[in-house]
Symmetry: C2
Subunit: 159 residues, 2 copies
């Protein structure tokens, strides 16, 4: 049985050339109580540029990665083409302004204006795998978020 | 500007007393191409038991954790009460049956029958924070998913 569910926008990703922010809508600001103290959050947002019925039916894509097999299922990638346009990014908090519901983050691989859907704390017991195994084609990628920023990703992607 | 988006069920979480599975609907099976080789996936599912308008308006909750402040915003917890009922679990693959779209996983903190929304590969460069900081009240929790299973969580939760 297929069912559908409805998501509501709780804020937006805001980016310019040098800075990235999570901006909550005013009614959701009180849900930040207790977020102070976490270094990282998981931001869940909607890949709204791909929200077309014909795009959501695409289940395999030409690999976005140079060293991967030519075709990958969307569940093996973070391609912004998938049945539900959910993106999950681990973001490092720079500053948290609880009064206006604005969080400056180090960076995020999102488009400016992407609708925000949820925030969750990054909890090592639930989110940090000590020894993850990945396919051969990505085994040389950085082993953590911290070292990912200095990595030359241009050699990995087909775009 | 608030917008709404529609999610479609792509499968279900199936659990019994000893085993946990992700079961895809037949039409989505081909999206598994290339998943073999990853030890862990992130499963995104819908907390459908809480999908009532009055529940989705609750933004602060009595803390589910014994040692935390009494009240926490839902963005500081994984409480199944939040504006959008999205849950993200990191799951370890036991077996992947690509023919029938069934993945046995070690365990998942979900209800049997929860609607599945997306699967993404666990990629260390995007998902594994080497040195996460958490609030004092959770600083003694396990430092990774592997050690979380043997931890006595009954001393941490208020239920």
């Amino acid at each position: 049985m297929e069912q559908t569910f409805t998501l509501q926008t709780i804020g937006y990703i805001e980016k310019n050339e040098t800075e990235s922010y999570i901006q909550l809508l005013p009614k959701y600001i009180e849900a930040l109580e207790g977020v102070a103290g976490f270094s990282h959050l998981k931001a869940i947002y909607w890949l709204d540029g791909m929200d077309l019925p014909e795009m959501r039916d695409i289940l395999q894509v030409a690999s976005p990665y140079k060293k991967a097999p030519e075709i990958l299922g969307v569940f093996a990638t973070r391609a912004p083409v998938r049945p539900n346009l959910l993106a999950v990014s681990t973001v490092k908090i720079v500053t948290l302004d609880e009064a206006i519901g604005r969080i400056q983050i180090v960076s995020i691989d999102a488009e400016n204006g992407s609708p925000l859907l949820d925030l969750k704390p990054y909890t090592p017991s639930e989110d940090r795998v000590e020894v993850p195994i990945v396919p051969e084609w990505s085994a040389h990628w950085p082993k953590n978020v911290e070292s990912s920023e200095a990595f030359d990703w241009s050699k990995e992607f087909n775009f």
